[in-house]
Amino acid sequence: MHGEYRVALRNNRLGLWLFFLSESFLFMGILVSRFYLWGNTRPELNQLNGLLVTTVLLLSSFTMNRAETALVQNDRKTFLNCLLLTVALGTLFLAGVVVFEWGGHIRPSDGAYGAVLFGMTGMHALHVVSGIVFILIVWNNGRRGLYSSEQHWGVEACAIWWHYVDLVWVFFYPALYLMGQAVH
């Protein structure tokens, strides 16, 4: 691999991971607010919906991983198709959040339940949107053959960004749907 690319790749990776660390403090702050305000309770939410959106996001993480692996294996068709699949699943996830979670009986202005519910899902959804835009950019560049199986920092960054957004949901899902006593 080209020496300069190597150096840049190393810096880029470290930089992106440091950014994850920084973002983790943001999401930890949100989680702390949830426990501070909700304590050991939670509002009654549709459990099935929670499982569904979680599954969809998990599947999207899988397709993203498949896309990256495919590029490394020089399997371009799978690479591009899986990117689009990820976008589709991500959009489905967003739809699930917006239609089912936000369309329920709780409004943002309804006390700490409303505020934290919309705060958590909203901040996470914002990151999902950023991930979708990122994937579309990478898909477009991939279509034009700008990535090789050896040099594809753009794809790698996009993939781990997407996984990071999924990772946040790994904590948000139980915090919203499982932890504490449901209050009617």
Partner: protein, 138 residues
């Protein structure tokens, strides 16, 4: 909600996640010509009629090329399969977390499960080790 309906919901969740998700995936990948283990077929060259060289050096070279191709395919299949395995494990953990919650696990317990899932994602999907490597691809 009574306990029995909750367990019913849990059972439904297991079904949805494992069977339903699996079938859904298979359909999705069918559409894009991919089964869960990926494009596992041997490259088309092998299926075409080939003339095996008889001259010893050429034969050796031909064999090596064949092996390399097979190895590439094997690598690809293995790589795809490891992604699928991680998916299955994560799905199982999600179901586990859901069911354990019905059974009555503590908040701490749920956090531990989430941490395990996070560790799996960080290691297998996000390749955290590459940060510490000296910048050499994969």
């Amino acid at each position: 909600m009574t306990t029995s309906t909750m367990y019913a919901l849990a059972a439904a969740a297991v079904l949805i996640l494992t069977a339903g998700g699996g079938v859904g995936l298979a359909v999705l990948f069918r559409l894009t010509n991919q089964l869960v283990v990926g494009d596992g077929r041997l490259p088309r060259v092998v299926l075409e009629r080939v003339v095996v060289p008889t001259e010893p050096m050429a034969l050796l070279r031909w064999r090596r090329e064949q092996d390399e191709e097979r190895m590439a395919v094997a690598r690809r299949v293995a790589a795809y399969r490891s992604g699928a395995t991680v998916l299955v494990v994560l799905a199982a953990l999600t179901v586990f977390e859901y069911v354990m919650n019905l059974v009555g696990i503590s908040v701490f317990g749920l956090f531990v499960i989430a941490l395990v899932k996070a560790a799996i994602i960080v290691h297998y999907f996000m390749h955290v080790a590459t940060v510490f490597a000296a910048g050499d691809g994969h």
